[in-house]
């Protein structure tokens, strides 16, 4: 059991709101090993970010509540940890970077102080030593003139530089796991690639595991070892990147693949989105959550919730028909399009 660096077992996080119970994370399971990169993919509201914040106990409780499951980090339960215990892990062994670098840094403190802060808390460094280390970290993440920039305030950094600073902050204590919550969503396309490359380069050097949370399949295709696809708070498909990309099992994954715009598209070809809207997490459809939007849905799908089951070695999916002979991704699912 304790072989894996991180083991998520049937994690369930619900929010108790005035409008009802929001099942934000509802039975997520996966494992992560040292030095591995996991891509977590899903639409907005699929619970991909919330599951990460839940592991870090960064969800305000109430209204949030872990109603089931567990997350084991090096064999210790993260969700059951006391505040002072999880604090020693946060920013030290597991670190996070967030979507919007413009607002994720405190505007009134210098960059160097903010990057050095984890070292002061976790490694007992003096503030001056931490600031010296911050210069090295800034150099590591490719900020020019780090000796000068360390004394800058966040508003003097561009968006890309701020995200680099966030990465430097996350790397300060040499973490085992770096959770990147849509780290490139708020950045320019050219900067996106640089940030992703930087994270991989650092992973090569330090051997940390990465959980890359994104709605962009393109991002995870390049970098992830394994991919978890989420929908409506539930896991839909989990497997190696090759498995998920070349032999996807779940109709939702098929739909995601179809909705990626191809670079060789002409102006006549249409985009092929998944029809309909993601369900409300308060009122998740009975049976399979994806059934109302699934072009392959049969009667059983509307009644019976499919279990998340291993189909083939490392490849798991939650569809009644996954792995059935003849149940394959139709070439043309978009009406009126001839590919």
């Amino acid at each position: 059991m304790a072989d894996h660096l991180l083991e998520v077992n049937d994690l369930r996080m619900h929010f108790y709101t005035r409008d009802g119970i929001v099942k934000a994370v509802d039975g997520v399971s996966y494992t992560l090993d040292k030095g591995e990169t996991l891509g977590v993919v899903g639409e907005s509201g699929s619970g991909k970010s919330v599951h990460a914040l839940t592991m870090m106990q960064l969800i305000p409780m109430p209204p949030g509540k872990v109603v089931g499951g567990d997350v084991l980090f090096k064999g210790r339960s993260l969700v059951k940890m006391k505040d002072e215990e999880i604090r020693k892990i946060r920013g030290n062994e597991i670190t996070m970077i967030f979507q919007d670098p413009m607002t994720s840094l405190n505007p009134v403190y210098r960059i160097g102080r903010q990057i050095g802060e984890p070292l002061v808390i976790h490694k007992g460094m003096s503030r001056a030593d931490a600031e010296k280390r911050a210069i090295e970290l800034l150099r590591l993440v490719g900020i020019p003139n780090p000796e000068d920039r360390v004394r800058d305030y966040p508003h003097q950094f561009s968006g890309g530089m701020r995200q680099r600073a966030m990465i430097a902050m996350a790397l300060a204590c040499d973490p085992d796991i770096l959770i990147a919550d849509e780290p490139t969503t708020a950045l320019d396309v050219t900067i996106q690639a640089q940030i992703i490359e930087l994270m991989l380069e650092i992973q090569k050097r330090t051997g940390n595991a990465i959980i890359m949370i994104t709605h962009d399949l393109g991002v995870v295709a390049d970098i992830a070892d394994r991919i978890l696809v989420m929908y409506a708070g539930r896991p839909v498909e989990f497997g190696t990147t090759d498995e998920v990309f070349y032999r996807p099992l779940h109709p939702y994954t098929w739909g995601l693949m179809d909705s990626i715009p191809a670079h060789d598209m002409t102006e006549k070809s249409e985009l092929c989105p998944i029809k309909g809207q993601p369900p409300s997490l308060i009122d998740v459809p009975a049976g399979c959550a994806f059934s109302p939007r699934c072009p392959y849905a049969k009667e059983r799908c509307f009644k019976e919730e499919p279990p998340f089951r291993t189909i083939d070695g490392t490849h798991a999916a939650s569809c009644h028909f996954a792995g059935d002979v003849g149940f394959t991704h139709a070439e043309v699912t978009c009406a009126g399009v001839s590919a």
Binding site: R90, N92, F98, S104, R110, P118, I121
Partner: protein, 397 residues
């Protein structure tokens, strides 16, 4: 930083001219009894006497000329051109004094006939009126002479005392009251706001929210009268009569600060309530920001996130409010000072307006103007220290 401050000081000039010009304009059209009549009481005045008095006070001149007189007296520097002619002998001007021969222009150059000897020179711009010039220093530059004098705000119509002396006596009372009120506001306003935000929706939060709503709605004079009634009359024996005594503490029976308690509570009441509300809403807003989540994700304990990361951001608008409010208090609290018979500058100006004692009104407003502008400058400087985005002029991306 230096550029920032000097720009702000320069901005003061148009504000000062605008406010004082407006003041002279409105005072000129203020209806009611004329100051001479008020000075003389019920007696009928001989028209010739009245004309002479008006002339001596400079009130016979049009309001814009009076305005220039005021600026001239206030200005510590004068550029004077002495034309070298011998002044005609004027029996009304004391011996050795110079008679002004030119007109007074806006930058206050004065033209006089000959360069006076070093030291104090008395000049008489008008019949019956003498000024000393060059009291502090006198420098000759080319054909012009720079004369330095202490600023003058004229004399009271009512009792002939120097306005600066009158304000010098009353202003310390206003400062004392403002300081004690602002201390109350800082302690209780910020304190209540923090408690209210941290313990959101608790009993304490409800208590703070409710009591601040009530305080904001209470008229200041009513609160002052009620406090007086409660502590000075109803609880006279319990408090040893401490609050029954005159506000100036003239009896000397109690320490000076005792007399400050009720007026400063009264003066601070409304702004303390506002400060608490601003503090609460700012802290709640800041704790929802992304960088607070970042701070938690670093492994900081809640206490350090609050005092280290949230507070400095949340305090910025509160500091601004309290600073500007202090500027307001320094301009004299007419209601509080009147209710407590507090001999501060607000009450003094109020009485001067009623008595049409214009030099005191002009002088009082001038002092207040300087105090408020100075406080605003301090607020802006402190703002720059709290918020680095201001410090660099906001030019960067």
């Amino acid at each position: 930083m230096f550029q920032y401050i000097s720009r702000r000081v320069l901005q003061f000039i148009p504000v000062f001219l605008g406010v004082t010009l407006l003041l002279f304009l409105t005072a000129n059209y203020l209806p009611g009894a004329d100051p001479i009549q008020l000075k003389m009481g019920e007696k009928a005045i001989d028209p010739a006497t009245k004309a002479r008095l008006l002339k001596n006070l400079g009130l016979d001149r049009p309001w814009y000329a009076q305005y220039v007189d005021y600026l001239s007296a206030l200005s510590p520097v004068h550029v004077v051109y002495y034309d070298g002619t011998t002044p005609e002998a004027d029996p009304k001007v004391p011996a050795g004094a110079l008679k002004q021969t030119g007109t007074v222009a806006l930058i206050i150059p004065r033209i006089a006939s000959e360069v006076p000897p070093k030291g104090v020179t008395t000049i008489s711009p008008r019949e019956g009126m003498t000024y000393t010039r060059g009291e502090v220093a006198r420098w000759a530059i080319g054909g012009l002479t720079l004369e330095f004098d202490p600023p003058d705000l004229g004399t009271s119509i009512y009792n002939g005392r120097k306005v600066l002396d009158i304000l010098g006596e009353t202003y310390p009372y206003t400062v004392k009251l403002a300081l004690s009120a602002i201390i109350l506001e800082i302690i209780f306003g910020i304190g209540a706001g923090i408690v209210s935000a941290i313990k959101k929706n608790s009993f304490w939060d409800v208590l703070v929210t409710l009591s601040t709503s009530i305080l904001v709605a209470l008229p200041v004079f009513w609160l002052g009268i009620m406090l007086q009634y409660t502590f000075a009359i109803w609880l006279k024996d319990a408090t040893g009569g401490a609050f029954y005594l005159p506000a100036t503490g003239a009896s000397g029976e109690f320490a000076d600060w005792v007399y400050l308690i009720l007026p400063s509570i009264t003066l601070a009441s409304v702004s303390t309530a506002y400060a608490a509300r601003i503090m609460r809403s700012q802290l709640l807003e800041v704790t929802g920001q992304d960088y607070i989540r970042t701070a938690y994700a670093k492994g900081l304990p809640a206490r350090k996130v609050l005092w280290g990361h949230a507070m400095k951001n949340a305090l910025i608008p509160v500091v601004t409010f309290i600073g500007l409010d202090f500027g307001g208090m320094l301009s004299g609290a007419i209601l509080t000072e009147s209710v407590f018979n507090w001999p501060g500058v607000g009450y003094t100006i109020f009485r001067a307006i009623v008595g049409r004692d214009f030099p005191i009104v002009y002088g009082g407003v001038t002092i207040i103007l300087f105090a408020v502008m100075f406080m605003n400058l301090l607020v802006d400087i402190s703002y720059a220290f709290l918020d680095p985005r201001i410090r660099f002029g906001g030019g960067e991306s």
